[in-house]
Symmetry: D2
Subunit: 232 residues, 4 copies
């Protein structure tokens, strides 16, 4: 039934579907427990689903969930792991030398971020000017330089015989890591509400929107309620 | 009553006591709810506390807690924030340029880690030799070089007008951040069980042991049970 | 500072203040962690508190909390204990014979419930008539009869030598029990949002409003935001 | 694959399998995330599973779970719902008149409980004698009398036009209710550890053992570790 196997994200990342449980129908069945009835068909039960969603009767949405594997830069994991009802297991540089892969934003991303951002007034104040193509190229080079230097330091420390848990100190938050993460649909909806919002950082929004694609395919009626809220 | 205000940790970190709630007596009072009795005095109630602790009747230990402020490198926060019943708010490089402070392990720490570790066989295999003072100095220099380069990149990106949320990409996991964290005593005990264990990384163990000092002062009878378990 | 020690509720119940932690200021301090600033004074920080509350940035509200002791009928505890981030320890009929105290609604409560309820159409359909004073007296008598009979059965079973855990089977959900309960302010606010709502059962609303009195006294600025939401 | 559809329990109860997610293999895959490896085959990975289980590395066990529907007396639900990482939706007497079905322990259960219990000294002290067949029959009759009286009161209150939320007051904790409940395997294992223990009440042990049958069929290798712990 599930046709999305993997969604490529950013320059080296992905969101991979592992499995799901529950369904829109199961959410209704759980909600109907209170009156000892089952699923009645969508002709009548779409209204119930709307009611549950609109009035924040959230517990029935805990009856379904999605397990994914995610490859993303460390700074995205820091934000993602704030969502504490999620279960996850992450790759650890204490145990293995983690690969030399870093997130490099595109020229367009760097320019658009700087020129439209309302959250970066201080930085813009420093220059008092627009972000140009040439400055964005300089920015990419500065990042690449940092990635090159830190990788060389990391490899050098491992070669010197420094323990992996200490050799990892020069690793940047742009470096890719991986996790398996399981969460129920209530958690996924709360995540998307915060992380698909325009105020969220563009990079995590890509992951959140990818979760949205899975929700849309697996739980289309719950998705339609979420999407309705987004366009308001 | 509380005399510990702040414990200095590593080269720039600290654990600062903010406040606490509950007490050993309150734990007993909660446990005695089941039989509608109150605290009876430690002559009889130390046995009850021991019983609760030894038989993992953990819910009464949720009736007390400690709020702290922590300054620690990012790699420590990643481990700490796995403990999901904790509440926390952390400094964010999305909102402010975070200070140029990094954790630099001492020569002794680098040497001892490499020479005694049983978890770093691959790295030692690379050299086939002992970690020496001179290699440890090289290691420190490699770290310092990475910190210097990444700070220059970070400052440069901000100066170019790159948004703070992207300019932070070259930041290393050795960089210090801060958080306020509130957790009940059950969470604190679980944290110490894992993070004051010899298999935990030495750096997080310093923070965990500092939590232990607060527990010892604030909840001396619960601490005595924990300490008993440690020496077995 | 705290002047409310105990609030009497229903015919035999109460909400007793045990202790609290945190304050409106502490909530601000935690929120300001993200930009490494502290509390700035309410002239500027009331706006921040409003922003946090209105935009559902809920984690700073986890930095404060209230511990209470509650005496309430069992049917209220069933609803209360749905709020899963709460910690609690309850009196147990497995361990002690629980007292012969039951909740008996007043004549006014029985009449008002039946005549204004929009949630009891089927029951009203049975009679097709208004609830009268005399019927409400009959209702009270039916309840008292059930309480008397079940207490006699309970005491009789204990006297026969039946174990407490089985002798409790005839206990009704109107019977009073007790619990100690600790919860952070975020949980308390979510509880009040659901349980001080007009759609909540009148009995649990009394307890929720009592929690509200504590919140008002302990966290007056957070309370003002909650109260603002209530009158909308 | 799942062959157990429903397990009958007590006189009117059941545990019905709804669905599950994850597998023993998925637990391993999640655990191997830390070293970026996948499942290697049980020849090598049974050792890893044992290690995780024995050292309480519990998060990988959150990658699997079971959804069930449960019919049980109210006093069992009170105990079950203490397990707070579980998600559930329960039948509510606020919304529907709940059926006239009560748990009646058998003569054998009443006798065995009283004669072997070490937790009922006070009750036995009342009589100073053994529980006999004839006393156990008296006990059953006392329970049946209470069930009959309370059902008559309940039906009478509804007929008088009392709202369902108040008419339910005479309901006993022996009355059957239903819930849908979803929980990950870590929660299920913690539940079984407490509730399949000899110190747990016999009635909830039946439900816990039924959960055990599902775990055994769905996650046989995790089950073997749990069972090993039980026989120690």
């Amino acid at each position: 039934m599930k046709t999305i196997a993997e969604i490529k994200l950013l320059d080296h990342g992905y969101l991979r579907f592992i499995e799901s449980w529950g369904s829109d129908e199961r959410i209704i069945e759980a909600a109907r427990m209170s009156t000892d009835k089952g699923f009645q068909g969508w002709d009548t039960d779409m209204r119930l689903l709307s009611y549950l969603y609109d009035h924040k009767h959230s517990t029935p949405f805990e009856m379904a969930g999605i397990v994914v594997e995610v490859k993303a830069p460390l700074f995205i994991f820091s934000e993602w792991q704030r969502h504490r009802t999620q279960s996850y297991n992450e790759m650890s540089a204490r145990y293995i030398p983690i690969p030399d892969e870093h997130y490099l934003p595109t020229i367009e991303r760097i320019m658009e971020g700087a020129n439209t951002s309302t959250t970066n007034k201080q930085a813009q104040g420093v220059t008092g000017t627009q972000m140009t193509w040439s400055k964005a190229v300089d920015a990419q080079n500065a990042m690449l330089g940092a990635y090159y230097t830190t990788q060389r330091a990391y490899a050098g420390l491992l070669a010197l015989g420094v323990t992996k848990e200490l050799a990892r100190l020069p690793i940047t938050v742009a470096r890719y890591s991986k996790m398996r993460a399981s969460a129920n649909l209530r958690n996924r909806l709360a995540f998307m509400t915060l992380r698909s919002d325009p105020s969220a950082q563009w990079e995590i929004r890509q992951y959140s929107d990818a979760i949205g694609q899975l929700v849309k395919e697996l739980f289309p009626r719950t998705w339609s309620k979420f999407a309705e809220g987004q366009t308001k």
